[in-house]
Symmetry: C2
Subunit: 425 residues, 2 copies
Amino acid sequence: MAHDVSNDSIYQQVEAQACRAKSASIGLRTLTTGVKNAALQAMASALVAEQESILQANQRDVAAGQERGLSEAMVDRLRLTPSRIAAMADGCRQVAALPDPIGEVMKGWIQPNGLKIEHVRVPLGVIGIIYESRPNVTVDAAILCLKSGNAVILRGGSEAFHSNRVLCDVISRAAENAGVPAGAIQMIETTDRSATSHLATMNGLVDLIVPRGGGGLKKSLTAVATVPVIFAAGGVCHVFVDESADLKMASDIVFNAKVQRPSTCNALETLLVHRNAAAQFLPAICDRLATAGVELRGDAASRQVVPSMQEATEADWDEEYSALILSIRVVDDVDAALAHITRHGTGHSEAIVTENFRNAERFLNELDAAAVYVNASTRFTDGFEFGMGAEIGISTQKLHARGPMGLEALTSTKYIVRGQGQIRP
Amino acid sequence: MAHDVSNDSIYQQVEAQACRAKSASIGLRTLTTGVKNAALQAMASALVAEQESILQANQRDVAAGQERGLSEAMVDRLRLTPSRIAAMADGCRQVAALPDPIGEVMKGWIQPNGLKIEHVRVPLGVIGIIYESRPNVTVDAAILCLKSGNAVILRGGSEAFHSNRVLCDVISRAAENAGVPAGAIQMIETTDRSATSHLATMNGLVDLIVPRGGGGLKKSLTAVATVPVIFAAGGVCHVFVDESADLKMASDIVFNAKVQRPSTCNALETLLVHRNAAAQFLPAICDRLATAGVELRGDAASRQVVPSMQEATEADWDEEYSALILSIRVVDDVDAALAHITRHGTGHSEAIVTENFRNAERFLNELDAAAVYVNASTRFTDGFEFGMGAEIGISTQKLHARGPMGLEALTSTKYIVRGQGQIRP
């Protein structure tokens, strides 16, 4: 760890790593799937074989965290165990088993002049991944970048520094021994915060930054980044229970979307209920949610039905609670539901529960979001649940990748053209 | 034209237009292909029907340009004629005839739990197009945005102000009468330069900025934009004439790539010749190029073969001449050619002329560029030549769209999920 070096020297360190990554990316571009998969298997074995040194390094981070008074939840995110290491190794094997996105001919055709054109998938080049406390992201990010033919520069949270350093060392050594170019997997070893902003301005060396972290990281990166950035999303997700909904189904979906894992970005934050369903639906679902520990905040109309609820303020409609809190609003019809979501949604995941075909179609077609659902929980917006076999994050931006990002989100494309001497008339 | 308003007031004007565009984009999202195509046909007819007022407005711009001493080439870019207006109208009809990208189900499948997932193409929303002197871009940009279901905010060069205003008025009126939401096609009417930077920071209202202009525009936008920007590309393109090349074919390709339209971004800037082909190839091609008025700048080895050439400096290898100038370098082999292009190329279009299979494959696979060619002119990197039927520009960036950008580059995607009450276990 180099706390005391000058800003210039940090820039030079990071630049040297980026140059090394760029250079590795040239070899990675044409690395065969066989070599990449063998490397992933070797990484899995190395993680298990070198478990002891990983656990020892992790123990240093955990002890330091406890000393600094981290909450038990934070310490738990930090902590590695043999079974967590085994899970990382499994992750390597699972990514090895995924189809290689690189080289896919997405489209191929012959022009009237005989030019044979193929539109093929290629690696992006060099990807920077910036993340916070959980050390397993070190392995997750590295294996997705490797499988998609990219060099990766990892930048984890300082509280997991020793764990990340050993993990990166173990997997990069295993990869290199299996034929992956040196420099393909690197970690920024200074904990100085300026390293991140340096990385985000190295156009020409770094092709993409993926920050996996909270709003603070997002804000600070937006201000400085000139390299393209894909942010993992925040989500103010809605479920609209229509007049015609199967209310048993609606109750299960709302309960699942709110309670099953409230800290995730695809969890429910605001429940919208059709006026004609409110009297029948709200008392039972509110009971069920309250029993599960959910704090309920309703508008006037819903509090007429369930007076025990707190009053929702205007600010509640824009809040991503990421916790066991739910705001509830009664709306007149599907138009009012669409208007509310258009105004307050973040374009992540929105669901309608309905038996009405026309309302279902309108909801699917008129809302502008990464994922729109009829009669299913918003919690399914996830790379694994969508069958991608992997996930680097969920995007709510509209360019390049929207929704769950699998291996394809880490690729670019190029046109390959074969001719017989064609010139342009 | 409002030259004298305050910066705040310009911001408010632009924001009001962006809000109107955003609002139009909601209706555009679900506008049928039939209505969009009818609007495009109506725009074509209106351009022809209102030709007189268009020509009159254009005459004001041309006269003002001549008074301000614009070059004859610049004035010609500005000038509209009945045949140029007819060409714009044809453009509308051609875009009407293109397949609608919106609603395309790119992939659809059923998950093991019964969730039916579709990945579909949707509009981006609101697109800002910033361009320079040619007034036909007003129509080109508007029709591509309309066909792809996007609202557009146009910002043309001040020298074409009156022409652009009438064109925008004619086509937006025709579109609106045909059922397109009001506000779908708008033009920024202040010529104050700050309008552009305001537009480029309206996240949440503007989804994409496409600047079609030179390096100055690119630089000033990069500094301020927080909205995603896709730049039309610059290109330092290469042709490598390999040892085994058919030299007649090589001569035709090199001549075409350099001379056919030297101002374009896909024109040849640096010719690389295999050492063993130099003595036979260079004298004839240099003669042919010089006769066509091309200024030649060679390295030492090529000047040994053709001593009449100027000496190339190191700076020549990175220069986009966009003119009848060509730099020439002799290289030892395909490795040296790949190394030169990797170092000096801009990732636009690169070609090899060879009869050697292995070298052809290496060139195609190892180079990182939007388009790579074997035995064809780099001049084919173009939306029309690639069969897209339209082009909004050529991208050399790697995210979202790379290479010629057709209608698909103006779209995003979303996941549509239909269930029967699924919840996440």
